[in-house]
Amino acid sequence: MKLVLNIAWTHVSTRVRQTLVGMAGVAMGVGFTIMMAGLMQGSQIDFLRQLVDTMPHVTVEDERRSVPTQPAEQEYGAVQMSDIANVGRRAGIRYPESVMNSLRAWIPGDVAPSVKTTAIIDHGGARIGITLTGIDPRFEVRVSKLASQMRQGKLDDLSRASNGIIVGEALAEKLGLKTGNTVRLIGGQGTRLNSTVVGLFRSGLKRVDESQIYSLTGPAQIMMGQNGVINQLRLRLDDPLSAQKVAAQVEAQTGYQSVSWQEANADLLSTFTVRDFIVLTVMGAMLLTSSFATYNIISTITHEKRQDIAIMKSLGMREYAVRRIFIVEAVIIGVVGILFGWILGYLLCYGWSQITIFNPLTGTTVPLQIYYSPMHYLVAGGISLLCCAGAAYFPARKATRVHPVEIIRGSS
């Protein structure tokens, strides 16, 4: 191996310009790949963090995933039921306190009750449909980041005013609302309720900030026309990624539809998957393209060194040993290029993180989110090294297959 290294090093070190071009190609590929990975994952993680912070990790609703199984279906295998009469069912989760207590016994997190309904906010001649969520501030702080998202007022202010509500900042801006203003809420059954704005919040998600209002559970129940009903339990977990598993267990335990944040945003997450695929394809292409420089260099060297290859083979060096010389050359170019690529990648990531952009969703100027991960460096480096070795293999194989006698005769 020392001989192989010795010859390989001699070849690359005596072709400084070509070697540097090859290394620069690899460095650019690796550097920009790391930058793209950091940028892509950074923005994705930032978005998901906002999403996870804003939403409950699991929402238990007073609904079933499917129509309850009918006795006939249980009795016979080939029964198909349709247009089943709607059996009167009381809205809301039955015995919510008991359910919450049983969940608190095992879920890795906490649970809070809420009342979710829709209403129309009527103010200044404008009427806008909104989602009204009735909460209990004592429990809410355990399951959401609403308290930290408050821009004006506090959660506890809900209890200090008559029918107090907390309004999304974007909605408040649209209606020209300020804290202390009184608005009228109109429920689905025509219920009207004058409410006082006691606070403004900003979640960072425009669709939430434009349409969400929080109140105590009482006013929300009035708007729904169902006094004393809790129709939603919201869970916050220590590990948001376990939400799907926990949701399934909760649903199995309670029988109520339990939706994880992943399920609620399945369309969005599938978009991320497509985006990941596209970006990974582009990054792979970048790394592959960067190895073309290595291919060119090794092709040139093998062409120039046909005579040396012949003589090494005639001296008794095995074909694979000679082939390994050129692969080692590519690896040398690759390794040095990767090291520079890592530095370049880090500098690019740092540079991008200094750039701020206006986020139309939140209406704020924020720095580009970069995710720094050793895995980006390892994966980019590993793939690049494989591409370099692969790029060298084919010209090396072709060159070392030449019969030494042909070259020696040709040179004589």
Binding site: K2, L3, N6, I7, T10, H11, T14, Q307, D308, A310, I311, M312, K313, S314, L315, G316, M317, R318, E319, A321, H403, P404, V405, I408, R409, S411, S412
Partner: protein, 239 residues
């Protein structure tokens, strides 16, 4: 224990193609240990082709080569490479030294490929070989800093590096001046006198006459074999 270092039995080398051509046509020969064998013949007679077959650089279409009692006909390409590395040393008309390496590194090349000695042992042997060929002052020079004769002597040192049983030389003096030619032939003669078998292809009849035995090839066949010391006695005539 046999004294035969190399034996060729019924060697045939054909070039297949649109126009088939026979380079070597049924040659039988044996070279003893320590023998200096010269192969002569006109251009295109097949003497270099024969040499490449004897040195296992090329594989025969028919027949076989036995080196130090070991048949090589069923060896794989890698096994043939191993035999070349350890039992054969090659010297070509052109030195074929690796340009980026010093004279010493070129001599070390076969030893490093064989990997049977430590680095210090290899360097010691390399320097000793260069010294014995009068090149000790040029050990750290690159081929482009050496004369033609010096380069060819480095190539001979490289051929001797692994102490091969057989030295195969294809017109080693073909590109040298008279003084260098004399020097190289003396070296090859000395190598044979020390017990290694030397097989040389040459055009030069005067030099061939200094070999222990001369084989003259015509049209891929042995036309005549002449043994030194018996005058120009023709021992065998080609059919």
């Amino acid at each position: 224990m046999t004294d035969i270092a190399l034996q060729a039995i019924g060697l045939v080398r054909r070039i297949e193609g649109v126009v088939a051509h026979t380079l070597v046509n049924g040659i039988d020969l044996a070279a003893n240990k320590g023998e200096f064998l010269a192969i002569t013949g006109p251009s295109g007679s097949g003497k270099s082709s024969l040499l490449y077959l004897l040195g296992l650089l090329d594989a025969p279409s028919e027949g076989e080569v036995i080196i130090c009692g070991q048949s090589t006909s069923k060896l794989s390409e890698s096994e043939r490479a191993d035999v070349r590395l350890t039992k054969c040393g090659f010297v070509f008309q052109f030195h074929f030294l690796l340009a980026e390496f010093t004279a010493l590194d070129n001599v070390l090349l076969p030893m490093r490929a064989a990997g049977r000695m430590t680095e210090s042992e290899m360097r010691e042997r390399g320097l000793s070989l260069l010294d014995s060929l009068g090149l000790s002052e040029h050990a750290n020079k690159h081929p482009n800093q050496l004369s033609g004769g010096q380069r060819q002597r480095v190539a001979i040192a490289r051929a001797l590096a692994n102490r091969p049983e057989i030295i195969v030389a294809d017109e080693p003096t073909g590109a040298l001046d008279t003084a260098s030619t004399e020097q190289v032939f003396s070296i090859l003669r000395d190598i044979a006198d020390e017990g290694q078998t030397v097989i040389v292809v040459t055009h030069d009849p005067a030099l061939a006459a200094r070999a222990d035995r001369r084989i003259h090839i015509v049209d891929g066949k042995i036309a005549e074999t002449t043994e030194r010391g018996v005058g120009e006695l023709i021992l065998e005539t080609g059919k």
